[in-house]
């Protein structure tokens, strides 16, 4: 059966020589071609530059995307981001495509920092040591607790942790 609609989305995080992170978010489907580019500055993870280009047939509410995206400059990636972006880019006069793009780009930045720890864990062969490392990660990242099935109270990973 042929497809009536196909969407492709790619998000990339690439550190720059100056230490900032360049984040590219691109979407293409039958009706929309969209691209946002963020420059994120560690350690505060402040979005210091933001650009957007929406082509093909963007919804009318997103026609001013290249100006709208400027509202996120100065915003830092961290707790409360969803609420902040809803205030800046959401609502009846906002553009949900941009809001989702910035949230997904921010998530990619977090995963950029998460990846080395996960890779280090993969080098541990002993299951008991692997479990101990996971539990240690939970102790230092309380936000992970009950964030998914692996970290719910009944999970074997959580056994005896009292978190």
């Amino acid at each position: 059966m042929t497809l009536q609609f196909l969407r492709n989305k790619v998000i990339e995080v690439e550190p720059r020589p100056d230490g900032d992170l360049s984040v590219s978010w691109r979407l293409t489907d039958d009706l929309l071609k969209a691209e946002i580019q963020l420059i994120v500055q560690p350690p505060e993870l402040e979005i210091i530059e933001a650009e957007a280009r929406l082509e093909r047939y963007p919804p009318l509410s997103c026609r001013d995307a290249s100006n709208l995206i400027k509202k996120v400059e100065g915003v830092s990636i961290g707790s409360g981001l969803r609420k902040i972006l809803a205030g800046l880019l959401g609502g009846t006069v906002g553009c949900s495509i941009l809001m989702d793009a910035v949230l997904e780009s921010s998530n990619a930045v977090i995963l950029h920092f998460t990846r080395p720890g996960i890779e280090a864990g993969e080098t541990v062969a002993d299951p008991d040591k692997k479990l101990a490392a996971l539990r240690e990660r939970l102790k230092t990242n309380p936000r992970l607790v009950r964030s998914c099935i692996a970290f719910q109270d009944e999970s074997p990973i959580m056994a005896g942790l009292n978190l």
Partner: protein, 138 residues
């Protein structure tokens, strides 16, 4: 070099006038997962869902597949449906499976619009596509 990359691909098949099937794939440097879900077009209700976890980070993750049936009956047209998916499937199962469901759900209206535009263009090849799309609520 690129230190993290994520790709999402969502394809939409119209099985009949009332049913659409989304096939969503998410691949990134850490996770690799897929969702296939059937949705009733009239009200956006998820009728059937299947998932496949290819790459994940710990031995408990694959149990998240057992949580997917909670998505059946949920409507993609309800207010804050995406938050409900993240709460029911993401937090109780796996947030990355939830991300694919949400992307599939976001494609519902665009897929219908795309189908309708293709049909309208068949009837009238001179149709102004932008006018057609702007005449539809989106």
């Amino acid at each position: 070099m690129v230190t993290f990359q994520r790709t999402q691909v969502v394809g939409a098949e119209f099985l009949d006038e009332h049913t659409i099937r989304f096939n969503g794939i998410q691949e990134d440097h850490i996770y690799g997962m897929e969702i296939s879900m059937k949705v009733r077009i009239d009200d956006g209700t998820i009728l059937q869902i299947q998932g496949h976890m290819k790459r994940y980070t710990n031995f408990v993750c694959p149990q998240a597949i057992s949580v997917l049936p909670k998505a059946v009956g949920l409507s993609l047209r309800e207010a804050e449906w995406d938050k409900q998916v993240m709460r029911e499937i993401g937090r109780k199962g796996c947030e990355h499976l939830a991300e694919i469901i949400i992307e599939c759900g976001r494609c519902l209206d665009s897929a219908i619009l795309s189908r309708d535009l293709a049909r309208a263009l068949k009837e009238n090849p001179d149709l102004r596509q932008e006018e057609f799309l702007n005449s539809r609520k989106r």
